[in-house]
């Protein structure tokens, strides 16, 4: 095939990066869910739609910037990500208040209710932005690739997503394990009654937690506009993968989510390289199921004395 050693090396590097980039995508979409599903036990089937909220935020702000302040185009994206967080956070807050808080004791019912919610949200997107996909104009610096040597192309958007994932993951870790809120969340998760008794406002904590999870989903959705589509049903492309990542990792463990995102991403990107895409998908899913069979509580289940 006429491949030189350096070509081969480049492919290895790029393939390695592909795995890492898929890892960060999976992790970013899993993080919000790890908080909502892992910490609160709410099966949020509308997670993908909260991601779409973030994606449409980017679209709106890119259109606004393009129309009113074209000179700011290089910078709007960073602001837009923050706005995406805020909007998805607000939507999550609202959803928690209207819906989720009535269902904490019925986890499987949250699944059905949020399924309804996701249908409704999709229709809202469709009515507001039209049924067709949209494409936000991204700043120039996010496009294309970085080529340190000839034949080696590292996607800039991939690096951006990776950086953002690192940032968000770090943030979540800090918040969950170093902040008052994190303490309250963890206390509420492990014993709601006791948390209440020692003066934690569990109702506020729940709402905050749910909203933060949704906000992170919004950030993920915003970031994915650089690598994927933005349309009313875009969120549904991610939802099953997101659940698999969180479940596979062991629902309550943030570290597990990280590890499982890494494992799934590597399996998938390597099998994809050697097999056809469809077979790769099947194999990856089978591997996940098998491992879940061996470790029913996920990779990083808490070993507890019963």
């Amino acid at each position: 095939m006429g491949l030189s050693a350096s070509d081969l090396w480049n492919i290895v590097v790029m393939q390695g990066f592909a795995g890492l980039s898929l890892f960060s995508v999976l992790l970013l979409m899993g993080l919000g869910l790890a908080i909502i599903f892992g910490q609160m036990g709410v099966i949020n089937m509308a997670h993908g739609e909260f991601m779409t909220v973030g994606a449409y935020t980017i679209f709106m702000l890119s259109s606004l910037t393009e129309t009113y302040a074209p000179s700011l185009m290089p910078y709007y994206f960073l602001v837009a990500i923050a706005v995406a967080f805020v909007l998805a956070f607000a939507a999550g807050w609202l959803a928690e208040w209207a819906l989720i808080r009535h269902l904490y004791r019925r986890p499987l019912d949250t699944l059905l209710a949020t399924w309804g919610l996701s249908l409704g949200m999709q229709q809202i997107f469709r009515s507001t932005f039209g049924a067709k996909e949209v494409s936000p104009t991204l700043p120039e610096w996010l496009l294309g690739s970085w080529s340190p040597t000839e034949g080696l192309d590292i996607p800039i958007n991939g690096m951006f997503v990776m950086g953002l994932t690192l940032l968000v993951t770090g943030g979540v870790f800090l918040m969950l394990y170093r902040s008052r809120w994190g303490l309250r969340v963890r206390a509420t998760v492990s014993n709601r009654g006791m948390a209440n008794a020692i003066g934690i406002n569990t109702r506020n904590t729940d709402r905050m937690t749910f909203a933060i999870g949704c906000g992170i989903a919004g950030v993920a959705g915003a970031a994915f506009t650089t690598i994927g589509s933005t349309g009313p049903t875009s969120g549904s492309l991610y939802i099953v993968d997101a659940f698999l990542v969180v479940t596979f990792g062991g629902a309550a463990s943030l570290l597990g989510t990280v590890a499982s995102a890494f494992g799934i991403a590597q399996t998938q990107s390597i099998t994809e390289f050697f097999l056809t895409g469809s077979m790769a998908k099947v194999l990856t899913l089978l591997a996940i199921i098998t491992i879940l069979m061996i470790r029913p509580q996920g990779l990083f289940a808490l070993k507890m004395r019963r």
Binding site: K303, M304, R305, R306
Partner: protein, 247 residues
């Protein structure tokens, strides 16, 4: 030495959770017809020991022999079928079934899928249920939903469910928790009666109650056996006093 005289022979039993040894090379022997009470401070590993015997937790090392058969490799239901019954700390009954149904479900027939499909509540089953209900003092409540029973009655019902299976070894985890004085007395009598043709292991904190029922007492501490013997001797053991009074 042969262990065949013992109903239950536990040797070098060890289990660790992430390096923490909840049970540490423990040896314990229970005689036929014996009522053994295990006491010890919180976290001594009492409940874990019962979990190990009935298969809820898997041992890291050591053996548990019941009537000379190794139990550590068996599945939970196989352990139960070989004759070990276990009552949980909080009453574990089917709250939205009637007392009658609770007992009926515990009858040791039709335990397979198709057996359960074919199972009929024949006269011998009814007879047995009536008998056990009499034993635990719930004849009047047979048609009541179990969730409506008082806490003490729930404890009795669970014991009754175990009696339905007529186990040779019965393990009770804090059977009188939450009971009134009167109920405690009745329970003591109940245990005394049902102990006649089987061995029992009881975990209990209430020393008066222990005194009343125990044939022999084992004191556990930090996953090990601290002392063993008749109540009076154990009570006066300085090690035991040490542990209970604490430092």
């Amino acid at each position: 030495m042969s262990n065949s005289d013992y109903v239950l022979a536990i040797e070098d039993l060890t289990v660790s959770f992430d390096g923490f040894k909840a049970i540490d090379t423990l040896n314990l022997y229970v005689d036929k017809g014996e009522l053994r009470v295990i006491i010890g401070p919180n976290g001594a590993g009492k409940t874990t020991l019962l979990d190990l015997i009935c298969g809820k937790t898997r041992a890291s090392a050591g053996s548990i022999k019941f009537k000379n058969a190794e139990m550590t490799k068996l599945a939970e239901h196989e352990i139960v079928r070989s004759g070990i019954g276990r009552k949980f700390q909080t009453p574990s009954i089917y709250e939205n079934l009637t007392v009658f149904k609770n007992l009926e479900v515990s009858f040791p027939r039709g335990r397979g899928v198709f057996g359960a499909l074919k199972f009929r509540c024949t006269d011998d089953v009814k007879e047995r249920i009536a008998e056990v209900a009499g034993e635990i003092g719930l004849e009047e409540q047979l048609s009541m939903e179990a969730g409506l029973l008082s806490h003490g009655q729930k404890q009795w019902l669970e014991i009754g469910m175990l009696l339905m299976q007529d186990p040779e070894l019965l393990m009770l985890d804090e059977p009188i928790a939450g009971m009134s004085v009167r109920e405690r007395e009745l329970t003591a009598e109940l245990l005394d009666r049902i102990c006649r043709n089987r061995s029992m292991i009881v975990i209990e904190h209430d020393m008066d109650f222990v005194k009343k029922i125990a044939h022999k007492v084992t004191v556990m501490h930090q996953g090990k056996i601290l002392a063993e013997g008749p109540m009076e001797r154990v009570q006066s053991d300085p090690k035991v006093i040490d542990v209970y009074l604490g430092h």
